[in-house]
Symmetry: C2
């Protein structure tokens, strides 16, 4: 070990509304010693995701809240720098749900080996990882888009949304995205082949813009954002519409109660379905999903974009950027180079 510095990021106060740097503390710590059956890991890439905001509250959410004065954790690609496990060797690349730290130890069961020949290692945090699987299962299991149907996806330029739209295209649907900048609109239309994209910041009357973009109504609405954007989409549902409810990024930093038109009337007159989900509901089928996503990726049917911020010290900035609509595709933080490269 030539490099002795270690650091981790603690959640030291719970955000009220939008989080800020002040909720987090970078703390210098020792590099831990792996115990028997453990490996010492060097973080290469860490993933920042909107769902993490929910875990910063001390309330029930998808997953238990982060503990105060403990490191934040999430999806991380790391390199084994010391192994006391028979299953891993120095230099192995692994993925796991790990603390935001430069170095950490993990048990054999907590990480999974990656094959860097199959696809770029960062895809394991994006299109072949949690966001890709979220898109895959939410869209196909709940949304079940049919050829010729109209699929609307909000948060369309994010890691999940951009994959949803492309899978819907593969299934023969007409795909309408909702995104918040002209750069994103152009990317979704020109690079990913979305049929139409509504820029919610520029649209003025979002419902009218959506109505024009969806002349045959909405059959599937993959919802990442909630709030008024969703109100508008839900007012355009067709009979037997399906809404996979994936995220509500408009809520995550809301301090007051989220109030709006009740949607039950629309669901009722359209015999429509809405279902919340979290990707871990589909854990038993992850293998199948990852295999199909990998195949589409190899066939060139799926594209992805990564937005990589360099440096562990910029982790919180990258996380906060998720709520400012800054990221196109998967937001990652590059913490270190693999040693063999």
């Amino acid at each position: 070990m030539t490099e002795q510095k270690n650091q981790h990021i603690l959640l030291t106060s719970r955000p009220k509304g939008m989080p800020s740097m002040e909720n987090f503390t970078f703390e210098d710590i020792e590099i831990p010693e792996p115990q028997n059956g453990q490996v010492l890991l060097k973080t290469l890439y860490l993933s920042v995701d909107p769902y993490m905001r929910g875990r910063m509250n001390d309330t029930k959410s998808y997953v238990p809240p982060f503990e105060l004065n403990q490191p934040v954790s999430g999806g991380i690609v790391a390199e084994v720098v010391q192994s006391r496990s028979g299953e891993f060797e120095e230099g192995d690349l692994v993925i796991g749900n790990l603390p935001w730290a430069l170095y950490t130890t993990a048990g054999e069961q907590e990480v999974r080996k990656l094959d860097p020949e199959l696809a770029p290692i960062t895809t394991n945090l994006g299109i072949l990882g949690m966001p890709g699987l979220t898109a895959y299962f939410g869209l196909l299991d709940i949304g079940n888009p049919q050829e010729g149907e109209t699929v609307v996806v909000s948060g369309a330029a994010g890691a999940v949304g951009s994959t949803v739209g492309q899978i819907a295209k593969i299934k023969g649907a007409r795909v309408v995205g909702i995104a918040g900048s002209e750069e994103k609109v152009n990317y979704l239309k020109n690079e990913l082949g979305f049929d139409a994209v509504v820029n919610y910041r520029e649209a003025g009357n979002i419902r009218q813009a959506l109505k024009e973009a969806c002349p045959d109504g909405v059959d599937v609405y993959f919802d990442n954002v909630g709030g008024e954007i969703s109100d508008a989409v839900i007012s355009l549902l067709n009979k037997y519409a399906r809404i996979p409810l994936c995220g509500q990024i408009s809520l995550y930093n809301l301090e007051k109660q989220d109030v709006g038109p009740r949607i039950q009337g629309q669901l009722l007159i359209n015999s429509a379905l809405i279902k919340g989900f979290i990707v871990s509901n589909y854990a038993s089928q992850f293998g199948e999903g990852a295999k199909q996503l990998g195949q589409w990726l190899q066939e060139g049917k799926l594209k992805y974009e990564e937005n990589v911020v360099e440096g562990f010290e910029n982790t919180i900035d990258a996380f906060l950027g998720l709520f400012k609509g800054e990221n196109l595709g998967k937001q990652l933080v590059k913490v270190a180079e693999p040693s063999q490269s």
Copy 2:
């Protein structure tokens, strides 16, 4: 034909908010002559149902709106008093969706023969008819209650709600009703075996009362009412909860937009499902449903209550009573005696 009087009820103006007598006109008309292939029918019982309110608006709903200055129509049990069809004889009892009139004609395809030996003829408008089938398919297909789960039903003392609760009991669930009078609470608990019933008019804090009635949370919520009652139930959902969305009686007469806490956050953290439906979605399975309901009825596992108003002239009063929480069980209007009785 000894009796020459005929009359029908027209919708002569569209209600704003709660309907009143003034929206309807009783008009004296001739008794029509059946054409070839038609029968002349004498109305015996007519059904008034909450969903009809939706059809009185000139807006999209489950079914097309009633036309202005045309008779209101709905489920009717009638007797054939003259037949020009080979399929029906004088004296046959039939059911169909027919105009609110003392006498009317109908084609062979518009009515179905009833066997008065199988069950009282009025059950074809209630527990063995549209309301019973609504309860059966909504609860079992969408709600899918499992043994030991908690099923909450709003509008619990109505024709649909009381059947929902009893089917849920048959399936081994713990059943909690929501109703609006002590008479209804006692009926549901003592006659139908509901495990708990919340009187929403007396409860004060409806959420707190529901929480006490549902110590293990809510797995299935069969929603007939919407509004604040539903907000309270939805705040108590368990993981993987299911909500068959059957009606929104709180909305039907609402003149302003229905606004409340957005429910998506609750659905998301609980991976919960909500699905609107209308009984005709299940038309291809009506035979199966009616057979099962009939069997449970014969076995004494299902009970029903009818609230019969006498006299065609009281039809509108009976309809308006639905929105005042007056009816226990199926609301019917008895228009005439069968001639053979």
